[in-house]
């Protein structure tokens, strides 16, 4: 049965042609995409199990775990979902965006294998070292902030994971290299270009990780006597936030890919979309600086310049994609007569297909909730009210869960149907899964933001309803905790639904001819008119609504800050 998952009808040259995308797919590349993707789903399940324990502890009506177990499981939650689920998926995305889109063989498959084994072993090592944490070591959470010590095996495993990921990315770079040698004057397809930018941002982040974790490991085993907390923070966030920028760039690349193959989107301007990716390349790494806004040891000018991401280059890039991607869908569909009215192109889209709905919800929720809050907390002074509150956790659940995880869930459903060629089981449930999951996750996320900003609920606390030695507690926030708890548990049900449908389809799904579910991309031909001349007034309306929400949230946050006592 396992062997069957890795078979497809390849020709004698080892390639097959995908009936949906029309891509020429190499057997080795496809098998590695499957292996990395499946491993990612295992990490997602592990992270999901820890989510149940974390939610039931923070919702203190239940108050499930004692503090030491809570911090261990919170660390497991962070590493499996923010790192392993994402990074294994991202290597798979690189192999799709490189070799597959370009119709090439996967170069150096042995390197891919070495990378995979190192990543897998170290991911297990990190989970094991977290679960066996004992004094004086503490749970690392995501940040492992020195000089608070964690297990030496944790740091060592983190180094190996980083090295493994760099090695796994090398075949992708080799494919791009070979393509440019063979076709020096041919531009990369946009998806390959986006994957290329993602990979560069990834390598930057990963090198930052080595700069952080190698000295920290040496400190932990006693080779270095002292580790400076401010130095650690500055270095750590190169990978700590940098790894989330990989998620962002990979997600945007997948948005271009899936809106095209599932919804018939086109690229309305290669120049604009590629320029936005270039802006990411130069500016997005400075987004990491927003973690240091409430720090000593850094000058205000350093903070202002870096949080500005050098004049908001990366924010501008995201706002450009926020127009370009829905506009591509609108123009592409209008060109083929799908919907004449303001939003007709959208209502007529394949909403019953979970791949499509997952992607659209992730675009909307990432933008409205994740993007806006990211800018708010990245403003130097506003950060005073956001720093280390639960609202910060709300922000990254909006970006990484509502955005990236939703997108990757859609991608997994797509891969199950097009690469594994399996029908999704429990079709009606599969259809509502993105609605159910994103709806309740959005509500839980909103509650985290409210609880953080309006009640100052701290993040990373096992309990806030009882602080020993004082009458003070956060009991006033209890009603919102109830909404959070219920919404989060229902979101987890949505996650279980995803895992159940995915694994169940692989094991028990009927054999499927993908073009019976997805319209083959080759059939998306229109009236031949230029795409940029199509009306984009629906998208423009959406982006104006987005801007209005952005401005209102911005003004409200400054108003809240202005009511505080004087500082500085």
């Amino acid at each position: 049965m396992i062997k069957e998952l890795f078979t497809n009808d390849y020709g004698p040259d080892g390639f097959r042609t995908c009936s949906v995308t029309g891509m020429r797919i190499d057997r080795t590349a496809e098998n590695f995409v499957k292996i990395f993707g499946l491993t990612a789903v295992v990490a997602l399940v592990m992270g999901g199990i820890s989510a149940i324990l974390v939610v039931l502890t923070r919702w203190e009506v239940v108050g499930l775990l004692p503090p030491d177990a809570f911090y261990n499981w919170l660390s497991v939650h962070a590493w499996n979902l923010l790192i392993f689920w994402m990074v294994f998926m991202e290597v798979a995305i690189l192999y799709v965006g490189g070799p597959m889109v370009l119709g090439r063989k996967l170069p150096a498959p042995k390197l891919a294998m070495v990378g995979y084994v190192l990543m897998l072993v170290s991911a297990i090592g990190i989970n094991w070292s977290i679960m066996t944490t004992s004094a004086p070591d503490q749970a690392p959470l995501l940040t492992s902030y020195a000089p608070l010590p964690s297990s030496e095996w944790f740091y060592l495993s983190a180094i190996v994971f980083i090295l493994g990921t760099v090695i796994a990315a090398l075949p992708f770079f080799a494919a791009i290299w070979q393509e440019k040698i063979e076709h020096p004057n041919r531009s990369l397809p946009l998806v390959a270009f986006g994957a290329f930018i993602t990979a560069i941002i990834a390598v930057e982040a990963l090198l930052g990780g080595l700069i952080t974790y190698i000295p920290t490991y040496m400190w932990r085993i006693g080779l270095i006597e002292h580790i400076d907390a401010a130095w650690y923070r500055q270095m750590y966030w190169i990978i700590g936030h940098g790894s989330q920028q990989i998620n962002l760039a990979a997600m945007v690349t997948v948005w271009y890919f899936l809106t095209h193959v599932v919804g018939g989107a086109e690229v309305v301007s290669e120049k604009v979309s590629r320029s936005a990716f270039i802006l990411y390349l130069f500016f997005i790494n400075m987004g990491a600086a927003h973690h240091l806004m409430a720090d000593p040891a850094l000058a205000a000018s350093w903070k202002v310049w870096n949080t500005s991401y050098a004049a908001y280059g990366a924010v501008l890039a995201s706002m450009i994609h926020a127009f370009a991607i829905p506009a591509g869908l609108e123009a592409g569909r209008r060109k083929r007569g799908a919907g004449k009215s303001l939003f007709g192109w959208l209502w007529s889209a394949p909403w019953g297909n979970p791949v499509f709905s997952a992607v659209i919800f992730s675009i909307i929720l990432f933008g409205f909730m994740g993007g806006i809050t990211g800018v708010l907390m990245g403003q130097m002074q506003l950060n005073l009210a956001w720093h280390n509150t639960w609202a910060t956790v709300g922000h990254f659940h909006a970006t990484v869960v509502l955005g990236t995880t939703m997108t990757f869930m859609g991608l997994v459903f797509f891969v199950i149907q097009t690469m594994f060629k399996k029908e999704l089981i429990m079709a009606p449930l599969a259809r509502i899964q993105p609605w159910f999951y994103s709806g309740f996750m959005a509500l839980a996320t909103l509650m985290m933001m409210y609880l953080g900003i309006l009640y100052g609920i701290p993040r990373r606390h096992a309990s806030v309803m009882d602080i020993p030695g004082t009458d003070f507690n956060f009991g006033a926030a209890e009603p919102l905790f109830v909404i959070f708890g219920i919404a989060a548990l229902l979101a987890i049900v949505g996650g279980i639904l995803f895992a159940g449908i995915s694994v169940g389809s692989l094991l028990f799904g009927k054999k499927l001819e993908p073009s019976s579910v997805f319209r083959p991309a080759a059939s998306w031909t229109g009236d031949g008119s230029a795409v940029h001349l199509q009306s984009m007034r629906g998208t423009f309306t959406f982006t104006l609504i987005f801007l209005a929400v952005f401005v209102i949230a911005y003004i409200l946050n400054w108003y809240l800050l202005s009511r505080l006592w004087e500082i500085g």
């Binding site: 891509m23 959470l141 608070l148 397809p189 907390a229 403003q379 720093h387 701290p458």
Partner: protein
């Protein structure tokens, strides 16, 4: 068809761009400039700016400074009334040192902050309005001095909101602001 999975044909750099897309990009550029400018404007005219000098300090030196501060001040039932406008507080696993401090409303103080061991958070809010809260990061080896002026009397509770170990959520301190 301009597909994201095929190489674009011809010179795509000179291909037309939709008027609405250009308009949106212009709006976005202006908005980003406003975002950038507002931090600088607030740094000049706003009253909440986390600016203040940082000094390198060893843990033993800083412990001494907090001890001197407590000795120089007046011990009351409510807390320490500082001798001058300088206040020294510190975080350690799992308690705050230098608290509770009794302050006068409307008077500006120089708050010195540091940690004795690992990274901590200093998260402050008045009891009567939990939404009026702010957080600062405390690092061992660094003494950060920030001027603060509390206009509203009340009890301002301090909790640690940076994970510092299993007992982290039990840390508590307070500023008692009186008329």
């Amino acid at each position: 068809m301009s597909s994201p999975i095929h190489s674009p044909q011809g010179n795509w750099w000179i291909a037309g761009v939709s008027v609405l897309e250009k308009t949106w990009i212009r709006i976005s550029v202006v908005w980003c400039l406003i975002l950038f400018a507002s931090m600088i404007v607030w740094a000049s005219y706003g009253k909440q700016n986390q600016h203040g000098p940082t000094y390198r300090v060893s843990t033993s030196e800083y412990i001494q400074k907090v001890q001197d501060f407590k000795k120089a001040g007046t011990q009351t039932e409510e807390g320490i009334i500082p001798a001058d406008e300088h206040i020294y507080v510190a975080a350690a696993r799992f308690s705050f040192d230098g608290f509770p401090v009794v302050l006068k409303a409307g008077k500006q103080y120089q708050v010195h902050m540091s940690s004795y061991d690992v990274q901590h958070g200093l998260s402050i809010r008045p009891e009567h309005a939990l939404s009026k809260q702010m957080s600062l990061q405390l690092l061992p080896g660094y003494e950060w001095v920030l001027p603060m002026k509390f206009d509203e009397p009340g009890v301002y509770h301090v909790v640690c909101n940076e994970f510092c170990g299993v007992g982290h959520s039990t840390m508590h301190g307070s500023f008692i602001v009186q008329r």
